[in-house]
Assembly symmetry: C2
Homo-oligomer: 334 residues x 2
DNA sequence: AGAAAAATGATTGACGTACCTCAATTCCTA
DNA sequence: TAGGAATTGAGGTACGTCAATCATTTTTCT
């Protein structure tokens, strides 16, 4: 009923269990000839290690840690919800998930959170500050496997980045913006912060496609909304006073303010925002928002967990396998 | 290091291991009092069963079967590739995946494939024929858990459908089509088969939104391409001879023919197709195709497996949890 | 040939759970 | 209060693998 076991392999290779074990767990002290026979027997019998039994035997418990910004609204709230769901699901598979909330721009706090961490692997969403990257590299040096989540730390030695391709996201936004807009006009770009890599990358991609293919549209210089609804609202209102807007690309958070501003506007600009939250979902329904580009938090979390497992298990991970699909929502497919 | 075990629970409840076992696996013969103490101890210690150990002990092997159409091009090829990948990955978790290829419209063959099936759970993509549904119900009655994949069998007792919302897909296609098109004109809709539910649902959704919101565009009556490239090419050419086309919505397979036809056309219609394959990917790059609506085969397969596991494990599955996200690809986010 | 080194076999005890048997204890009812 | 039934305890074996130890055999080198 069940598949072949090491006993079957030993029998097929005509060696003892001990030798099979030595080969399979490369403990050394096996002649080339014997090793070859074992490997042949493995291939012949189709033996595959029973992971459950192996983990049980070596009493392995995966201890994974997520260091992510806290917050009870918007994207981070969704992320936390997804984390909690995964945590509950994974307990009975002997995967313990520890969630360490930090504050979004508090570098010192993030470093402190990393300082005394005890786990096999870490998924981190934090500032791209040298101090943080240093601390990450220290963890890596001490044997912790690290992946970055949503926000990359490219200067660090992280094994992989899990999140969307932000340049492609920006390019996609521009593509749709351009196609939706027939006539010429001005487009406003609002980033959360101009010093955050992901926002800059989105901006870059957006600008590039706009210039390549939709040169009849003019881009206003990008403004900084600080992921804050009131600031965003103020900025949008101000821009609309200066000139009519045909499009708005909102790169960061604070969409509540954006929706308010758009609803007060005379003519509705084509509005593209990031992250499907309660607010942006409602915006799509109302028609205040035309398109939402989203990275699904559940997918991000499960991908992270599976990556962390592969890494601690010593498996190779394919390049680019951390890429998360960019979800595109219009009013018809929420 | 590891979590609490049944031993800890027994100690906490001040009962024997046997009693804990009786409660946990409800074997009966336990007094209400004792049971309450055990349950309290479980809650108090935070005990969670070690699934790996449990499965090892009861030498459980999940045997999952996929009955899906064969084919070495397009969507089904991708599906098979995804299946193979999953199969390889899941062996060491004691999940055996059997893949039973059938022919797309061969109802008798599909029924035969279902006839002598020996597995714990089944994922099926087949014709919505009464004979098939009957056979499915027979399997369900005999204890096999069944989910439908990509194509639903709503009349059967399947536990859940795994795939996209086809009506929403059609509506989304129309939404983008309408937004991309400024001026009036004719739109051609090509289905694979007008008697296949998923295609009809897409058509329905497309039509509905077109009529609701883009009444300046006129819909030609839908034609049947039989998922065949040559047929599709011929149909598109013929339609373009009758009148200029501003848009094409291709619902089924055979996109190779569509691309050929579009490339020969004088003015390029806005073209939206389904499923990201080699052909449609290249079409996006070339500009022959404007948008691809896709259901990711990997996601479908992994979702199916996780559903099947939950079902055989006797876990509740949330309604609508089989819904797969509709991926939208433009040239910028392939 | 003899000693050292290398390779191999045999065996054992975990890991946490399931499932079974047999004996001992408690409970209820006539 | 005896008798039977229900409940509980104690203990064992198994699952497949890992990680040891120790004894034995084979090979290698001088």
């Amino acid at each position: 009923m069940s598949g072949p076991t090491i006993h079957d392999v030993a029998k097929a290779a005509q060696v003892s269990l001990a030798t099979v074990d030595r080969v399979l767990n490369n403990r050394g002290g096996v002649s080339a000839k014997a090793e070859a026979r074992v490997r042949a027997a493995v291939a012949q019998t189709g033996y595959v290690r029973n992971l459950a039994a192996a983990n049980l035997s070596r009493r392995r418990v995966y201890r994974f840690c997520f260091v992510v910004p806290s917050g009870d609204t918007g994207f981070v709230a969704l992320l936390h919800a997804a984390l909690e769901r995964e945590r509950a699901r994974l307990v009975e598979e002997q995967i313990l998930i520890q969630i360490v909330p930090t504050h979004a721009f508090d570098v010192a706090g993030q470093v402190a959170a990393l300082r005394d961490l005890d786990c096999d692997a870490l998924a981190i969403m934090a500032s791209e500050a040298p101090e943080v990257q240093e601390e990450v590299d220290r963890l890596i040096a001490s044997g912790v496997k690290v992946v970055t989540l949503v926000a990359d730390l490219p200067q660090s030695g992280r094994a992989c980045y899990i999140g969307i391709d932000n340049v492609a996201a920006g390019r996609t936004a521009a593509d749709f913006m351009g196609r939706f807009l027939g006539e010429a006009g001005s487009i406003l770009m609002i980033a959360g912060s101009l010093s955050s890599r992901d926002h800059m990358e989105r901006l870059m991609g957006f600008r590039a496609v706009m210039m390549e293919r939709f040169s009849h549209l003019s881009l206003l210089s990008a403004v900084e909304g600080n992921d804050d609804a009131d600031t965003v609202e103020r900025l949008v209102m101000a821009a609309m006073e200066d000139q009519p807007l045909v499009g708005i690309y909102a790169i960061g958070a604070g969409n509540r303010g954006l929706v308010r501003a758009v609803q007060k506007a005379g003519s509705k600009p084509v509005t593209i925002v990031h992250e499907l939250t309660l607010v942006s979902r409602q915006g799509l329904r109302d028609g205040a928002i035309d398109l939402v580009l989203d990275q699904d938090t559940s997918t991000a979390v499960t991908t992270a967990v599976s990556m962390m497992r592969d890494l601690t298990e010593g498996r190779e991970i394919a390049v680019g396998s951390g890429r998360i699909h960019l979800n595109i929502y219009s009013r018809e497919n929420i």
